[in-house]
Symmetry: C2
Subunit: 337 residues, 2 copies
């Protein structure tokens, strides 16, 4: 392993200790449990937004807790779901009477635990609704959208639902807009190297130098095609076509583009990918409103990237443009034209 | 190579094409040369701030061009200096009568070319002053500070000089404050893996898995010690002690801390490092004003990190806290206590 860690068993909790030490004005934990993260800034009467998921994906998931985005996050071990009880504690901490919306990725353990947490919250008299994000077109074919894994596209659900909740929209309304984002977002990834779970100590799958796997998930879930590593423009073409066909995204549409680095891929390369995405969308008369380029959902030190497109309408665009401020994501108000 | 690129010869220019396509409202280029980057938002009568340097270090150098920071940047090939002529063109574009300050890292090629550009600018009637940043304590001993390499600490010079220039301070004043930052900032790095220059195609040096090199530079310049990879806390101890001794940083000081990822090291690990830095500084009664944790100066896909400490006084703290907005760095006004 090439990792700057201490005892692998303490990795997640030491990371969290560093996090709270670094951002005491923004994040705190509840129930004496480092893994129950909530925003230090609360807004009375607002719908609470919670997420949760395994560690190893920063800024996912906890990195989006903060002003204009989420109110809380339960944190699991590396690539492991947090417990239902941790989810419940976060729920109780962030509910201020308007109810709580769970927004999380479509993974078995998370779905099971969030379902259980929602039932327990109900018994405590807290109204909870759920939105399960899954937009990886490589993970299940069209028509089976409910089987798809959630990857970087969940950033858009957090951002837009967060902005709407911040405007004091009701739980039903925030859920409606979160579901609209899910219905309009699509992602495809490519991996160039594996990653290593600290407690395992060696990569759990192999990608040789000079190879790539199109469609691989952020936990190393198998993709749709292994091949020799091709030039960046060809890789983009292979990734973008199934995204465009799936929704489909069409002439006249307006989209936001997210080029996400999986961990070890330099920002320079993400801009090379964006160059090609921009070319193709221009050719197709699809307008780009605002691109995000950087690391938004990682897989520790995995090399690779994902491309996400979100089809916008006036409502989504207005909410996407609003400011946000978390320890991992700061956005000023964007100009909407 | 595990790189998402096309022809290596086009890497830098294609990255720049992606950059201008992504951020047309923030960045543009002058003299029909993609490598002459200037801010799209200009402020009349302000001192112009320019930097420059090789590619492969994003967000360094061009990523700090924008509101509250720099006005322009000349861009070299991977790990290569831009030309004096490119520096001159940027200088001409950003001078609005108040003169231009060059802020760049202490590397032979950059020093030579910026010197030449300053002379050429003088012939064109533009007053230019220079501040050369060099704070890597591994690169030269105390007493030979002028031989030190500039690494991630230059972020603080950009941030603070940028905020001051934005307040319409004079060239002499901005230079004074930039020099004050240089005098009060110290860095040490550690590398866990090499990186590959695209046009070379293989790593130019070797760090085996399970090894580390303390003090290595961001172009792979030799460090001060090679050893087996130790636990993160020990690595921090080895890096922080020479930083603290060098200035020295002492009881009662107030500092900003920058934990910088070199490229392939996940954000989670940077927080594990920060946890230990925070512990040590607390023990020593050194107060932390505001930590920055992320990728600020990289070496493409190199695994590793650097730790930077900046000793603050009221002036530096006030300017550090001011907002900034570039495609790679957004900060809202920080609360100053």
């Amino acid at each position: 392993m090439r990792k700057l860690i201490n005892d692998p068993a303490n990795f997640v909790d030491e990371m969290l200790q560093g996090l709270y030490a670094a951002h005491p004005e923004k994040l705190k934990y509840v129930n004496d449990d480092l893994r129950c993260v909530v925003s230090a800034k609360t807004k009375k009467g607002k719908v609470g937004l919670a997420t949760g998921g395994g560690s190893g994906h920063l800024p996912l998931f906890l990195g989006y807790v903060g002003e204009g985005m989420l109110d809380g996050c339960s944190v699991g071990g590396v690539f492991q779901s947090p417990s239902a009880n941790q989810m419940l504690e976060v729920t109780k901490a962030i509910d201020s009477g308007a109810g709580v919306l769970y927004i999380y990725g479509n993974y078995g353990g998370d779905v099971m635990n969030f379902d259980m947490a929602a039932e327990m919250a109900d018994l405590e008299g807290i109204r909870v609704e759920q939105v399960v994000a899954g937009e990886d077109v490589a993970s299940a074919p069209k028509g089976k959208e409910d089987k798809r894994r959630g990857v970087a596209g969940i950033f858009y659900v957090y951002k837009i639902a967060g902005a709407y909740a911040d405007e004091m929209a009701s739980l039903d309304e925030v859920k409606r807009v979160a579901e609209k984002v899910c219905a309009n977002v699509r992602t495809m990834g490519v991996a160039l190297s594996p990653c290593t779970i600290p407690e395992v100590g060696k990569p759990s799958f192999v990608i040789k130098e000079g190879e790539m796997e199109i469609g691989m998930g952020i936990h190393g879930e198998p993709g749709i095609r292994k091949s020799e590593l091709k030039p960046a423009d060809s890789v983009v073409d292979e990734m973008l076509q199934p995204i465009l066909e799936d929704l489909p995204f069409e002439k006249g549409d307006e989209v936001s583009v997210l080029i996400n680095g999986l961990g070890a891929t330099p920002r320079e390369e993400l801009y090379v990918l964006y160059r090609r995405v921009n070319q193709i969308l221009k050719e197709k008369n699809i307008k780009i409103f605002h691109p995000y380029i950087g690391e938004f959902a990682t897989s520790m030190e995995m090399a690779g990237a994902s491309i996400t497109l979100l089809r916008l309408d006036d409502e989504l665009k207005r909410l996407l443009a609003k400011p946000a401020n978390t320890p991992f994501f700061v956005q000023e108000q964007l100009e909407v034209r």
